[in-house]
């Protein structure tokens, strides 16, 4: 890889001035905005004009002390109450407020002017430093600051001093420490089981011709893209206490025991997540060189020995990458343990309960547990990176591995294995779609089929459906724009600042969704930084969480576009910016858009962040399904799930059309 060397005249002084103006403009403008919002808020509460309120707040006018006239007998009358309210409000005003409230318009105007001036200076010179600055500000404000607030909350006691009180509590009480242990155990076992299911399957499907392999691939894909808790829900319907299979077996005298707790979590998550490992390893087989396998055979090493000596070691990095993804998903899954875990509490469930519980919950404790979770996931992430980087080899796949017809008993067993495993993985969606068409009476399923559940869903919860599409589409547009720009910075303009943007943008990968949600809520739940409770914070969380994947896929595409193409455009007299938009972007687009479609699917099926950040107006489909399931309204829940699955399938079809690929590599 050549280092980018688009030569252009650099005016360092102008650039630094531009960047300083830009940053100052943003800070000043934000302060102005905050001042305005604070003034509006307080003056409305105090029932005063903005001007009068500021006079009080800045101490130009003092509140008159309460006099006898303010009392109506023993109680305060209206004027007395107004004075008291004013005093209460004034007590809340901070030093910052006193500065920003009177100068709010000056801040806004000057901020805007400096922003424009800075941006103009930079654009006239080179647009990319500005993008770097904006990206850094974005991540500092919306990712690092929330995480810092979370850290504070985890490590400070109610007096604001450093204390490890919460950690003593966590590690001294089994209820808390068990949740951590449970999460680790579930994630590790699920990862292991997924690898054990997926590796043979990928090997079989890459080396043998399996009938209906195309259909199997699509089913595997769909199963991996379902909302996280639909699996749990379907398994409960089949094998739960009153499940179809359970009842059937009880009738003929077999007791299979129950599926709840650890066992249930592992079964549900493994069958949902093994598809990720499968996709990774299948991809690795595509880039495997068949000559290596033949060389191995010609040296007298065949069969299973060949797999362990040559095939697996070469696939180790890919295998680990897939396993890591499974570990992260299993660790962060909130819905599955909530539904099927019952008393087997896991870390995300504990965090949620502590954060929102009205009885004895503690935000500090939730933050402390979150911090532990971040440490665990980050360590696992770094460990995986460390091992992979040491074991990664470039293979020139001159002769890719080909599938041969499967014959005899081996062929039958191979087919059976693939069909059964894919069948179990897709079962939840199948069951849910089937249920969605069943006739209902009240909340119960009735014999026969009808569209009643869909009708009811559209009647009662259509808002959540439209809300899901609206928010996810806005988010995905933001993601595409930001990802393209950051990918360009990271690939073509390698420097310290852009490397830091790279690191920050990847960090959300290692933070579980619910924990990012809590961090955002902790940071933006109080005036003057009040962002929670609306669409903005939901979209923000989607953008931050899905950016890493989209940036990575965009960067990979960009690395494959030779620099000489951009150099050609520039030598033909196109400016840098124009080159990016007219040459680079169109070449990147098919890849970026297809990556964005996958991100979109993950957004519409995500639960763990939304459940922390939503309010009644921003309820999404997954949240709606979840609450309908809790309420026992299976028909509606199934109908919305089916709509979600259909959306996924359509999006996948679109993905294949745009990308022109035949499979997805993560």
């Amino acid at each position: 890889m050549r280092t980018p060397n688009v030569i252009r005249p650099r005016k360092t002084g102008v650039m630094i001035l531009g960047i300083m103006l830009l940053v100052a403009g943003i800070v000043l403008g934000s302060l102005g905005l905050m001042g305005r919002s604070q003034t509006d808020y307080y003056s409305r509460k105090a029932k005063l004009s903005a001007g009068e309120w500021i006079e009080y707040a800045t101490g130009k006018k003092a509140v008159e002390p309460l006099t006898d006239e303010d009392y109506n007998g023993r109680n305060l009358n209206a004027s007395g109450k107004a004075k008291q309210t004013l005093n209460e409000l004034l007590a809340k005003v901070t030093g910052l407020d006193k500065v920003i409230m009177p100068y709010r318009y000056i801040g806004l105007v000057f901020g805007a002017l400096m922003l424009i001036a800075g941006a103009w200076l930079l654009i006239a010179n080179d647009v990319w430093p500005m993008v770097t600055v904006l990206a850094i500000i974005f991540y500092l404000v919306f990712l690092m600051y929330p995480l810092y607030m979370l850290l504070r909350q985890a490590l400070l006691n109610s007096e604001g001093q450093l204390s490890f009180e919460m950690y003593e509590k966590i590690f001294s009480r089994a209820y808390y420490s068990n949740a951590i242990w449970h999460s680790l155990l579930i994630s590790a076992v699920v990862t292991l089981v997924s690898v054990l299911i997926a590796t043979p399957m990928a090997y079989i499907m890459s080396t043998m011709k399996i009938k209906g392999a195309g259909a199997l691939q699509i089913l595997i894909l769909v199963s991996s893209m379902s909302a996280p808790f639909i699996g749990a829900y379907a398994w409960i319907q089949l094998c739960g206490r009153n499940g179809i299979v359970t009842n059937l077996l009880t009738n003929i005298g077999i007791n299979i025991g129950d599926i709840y707790g650890f066992k249930g979590c592992v079964i549900v998550m493994s069958f949902q997540l093994y598809s990720l490992v499968f996709m990774f390893i299948s991809g690795a087989f595509k880039s495997m060189d068949n000559s290596l396998i033949e060389a191995c055979e010609s040296l007298g090493c065949a069969g299973i020995k060949k797999v362990f000596k040559v095939v697996l070691p070469l696939m180790l990095p890919t295998l680990l990458a897939g396993a890591l993804l499974v570990f992260m998903r299993a660790f962060a899954d909130y819905g599955t343990p909530m539904l099927i875990g019952e008393n087997y509490i896991t870390l995300p469930v504990l965090v949620y309960k502590e954060f929102f519980s009205e009885l004895g919950g503690s935000e500090n404790l939730a933050a402390a547990v979150s911090l532990i979770a971040i440490v665990i996931t980050t360590s696992v992430f770094l460990l995986q990176k460390y091992i992979s980087n040491r074991k990664i080899f470039s293979i020139s796949a001159l002769h890719p591995v080909e599938a041969h017809p499967a014959k005899g008993v081996r062929g039958v067993l191979a087919h059976l294995y693939c069909y059964v495993m894919v069948g179990i993985a897709i079962m939840p969606q199948g069951l849910v779609i089937f249920n969605s068409f069943r006739n209902t009476s009240g909340r119960m399923f009735a014999p026969g089929f009808s569209l009643k559940s869909y009708a009811e869903a559209f009647e009662t919860v259509s808002r959540s459906i439209w809300m899901t599409y609206l928010m996810s589409i806005i988010a995905i547009v933001c993601i595409v724009v930001i990802a393209c720009m950051i990918a360009y910075l990271v690939v073509r303009r390698r420097n310290v600042f852009n490397a830091s943007v790279d690191v920050m943008s990847m960090f959300p990968e290692t933070v579980a969704g619910s924990i990012l949600g809590i961090a955002l809520l902790t940071a933006f739940n109080k005036r003057p930084l009040l962002l929670s409770g609306g669409m903005f914070i939901m979209i923000l969380s989607y953008v931050i969480r899905r950016l890493p994947y989209t940036i990575r896929s965009s960067a990979a595409i960009l690395r494959n576009i030779p620099l000489s193409i951009e150099e050609a455009a520039i030598s033909l007299g196109t400016s840098n910016v124009k080159t990016f938009f007219r040459v680079t972007t169109p070449m990147m687009m098919p890849g970026v858009v297809s990556g964005a479609i996958l991100s979109w699917i993950m957004i519409i099926t995500e639960l763990s962040t939304s459940i922390i950040l939503y309010n009644p107006t921003t309820k999404t489909m997954t949240l709606e399904i979840y609450s309908q399931v809790i309420r026992g309204n299976d028909g509606v829940a199934s109908a919305i799930s089916a709509i979600l699955t259909f959306s996924t399938v359509i999006a996948l079809a679109l993905f294949f059309k745009i990308s022109g690929k035949k499979e997805i590599t993560m």
Partner: protein
């Protein structure tokens, strides 16, 4: 233990698509045998049938007298060198080379000794503990070669082993391969599309086209007395001229009436139309007033040792002629010349190009 290999009416089909219709040949023990042909001629397919990676649809391949059609690749005791080396990227050079020996469960000291010896033979001892990604292409190919011959295979197969190397390294490596093969003395089948490479390394060459063997002989014999026009054109460069044969009068009469006295007709030759294949160095350029085929110099390229002329014949055809460069001037464009031929070297073929009418053709394929 080297073996001789016998291909007996071998057939390769992919579905209805016949790649090799019917092929028979023998490779002698200890011989360096090359399959040479244009891409898609079936040479690699044939090699992979020997290795066991392609099935055999008809006929038999045997090592000495043992038919190996149904023996698994890992049991054939074959060393194979692949086009892209196929060196295991996750193992050091030493691990790569001992891989096959470990599978044969040899004692540790024996493995070490043999590996050390072979690393020395192929001159990569100093890289023994490196990972392949830190080696150059030529060094990786040496590892692949060492790995293939250290198991003392009955047979060494090489599938275009030099095609991924740059031109200079190719020449260095092909000399190394030839030397090592001589030293070890293993029967070797080598596949290439590069005729110069084939001539440099081989004891015998089989020229293939469309799955059919055209000619098997020594490099010298194939170059000088090709069995048919395809071989003449594929090995080196040839110009083809029309003429009439006068077998009794020992003459070749060209279209302008120039009669060249020619003593090389075989028994198959009959009077009538023939094709004469003339290599660029087999022309003799004379002044225009001498007897010969009249022609005009169109352009010339000075290549140091040789000068190449593109010359238009009176009939309008263009032929390529090489001449040893002299100190005196290169013939300027437009010069009228008269061409005659080195009668001992030229080859005469039937008009369909299928059969040579020159005596001295040696062909093991159609013997």
């Amino acid at each position: 233990m080297s073996v001789s290999i016998n291909f007996d009416h071998v057939v390769k089909r992919y579905g209805d698509n016949v790649i090799i219709p019917d092929l028979s040949l023998q490779v002698k023990e200890g011989e360096f045998f090359t399959l040479l042909g244009p891409s898609g001629c079936g040479k690699t397919t044939l090699l992979r049938m020997v290795a066991g990676f392609n099935s055999i649809e008809g006929g038999t391949i045997s090592f000495d007298s043992q038919v190996i059609n149904d023996i698994a690749p890992s049991k054939r005791n074959i060393g194979m060198v692949f086009q892209n080396y196929a060196v295991f990227p996750h193992m050091t050079v030493r691990k790569n080379v001992e891989f096959g020996l470990k599978n044969r469960k040899l004692p540790k000291e024996e493995i070490k000794k043999r590996v050390d010896d072979i690393l020395d033979t192929v001159k990569i001892t100093q890289y023994a503990d490196r990972l392949p990604e830190r080696l150059s292409g030529g060094q990786q190919q040496r590892v692949a070669l060492a790995r293939a011959i250290v198991i003392r295979p009955n047979l060494l197969l090489m599938d275009e082993p030099l095609s991924n190397l740059d031109a200079k390294l190719r020449i260095e490596m092909r000399n190394a391969i030839k030397l090592i093969q001589n030293e070890v003395g293993i029967t070797t089948i080598y596949v290439t599309h590069d005729q110069e490479e084939a001539m440099a390394v081989s004891d015998r060459i089989a020229v293939m086209n469309n799955g059919v063997i055209q000619h098997i002989s020594s490099p010298k014999s194939i170059y000088q007395r090709p069995a048919n026009l395809f071989v003449a054109n594929f090995i080196g460069h040839s110009n083809t001229l029309k003429a009439k044969a006068d077998v009794q009068g020992k003459k070749l009469v060209f279209e302008n009436g120039y009669a060249l006295s020619y003593d090389g007709f075989s028994e198959k030759a009959k009077d009538g139309d023939v094709k004469v294949s003339v290599r660029p160095e087999e022309f003799v350029i004379q002044q225009a007033d001498r007897p010969g085929v009249p022609a005009t110099v169109k352009s010339s390229i000075f290549l140091g040792l040789m000068t190449t002329y593109f010359v238009e014949l009176f009939s309008g055809e263009t032929v390529e002629i090489t001449d040893v460069s002299s100190i005196s001037n290169i013939l300027p464009n437009g010069t009228k010349v008269s061409l005659t031929f080195d009668a001992e070297k030229i080859n005469v073929f039937t008009t369909d190009g299928e059969t040579s009418l020159t005596k001295g053709v040696h062909d093991d394929a159609h013997a």
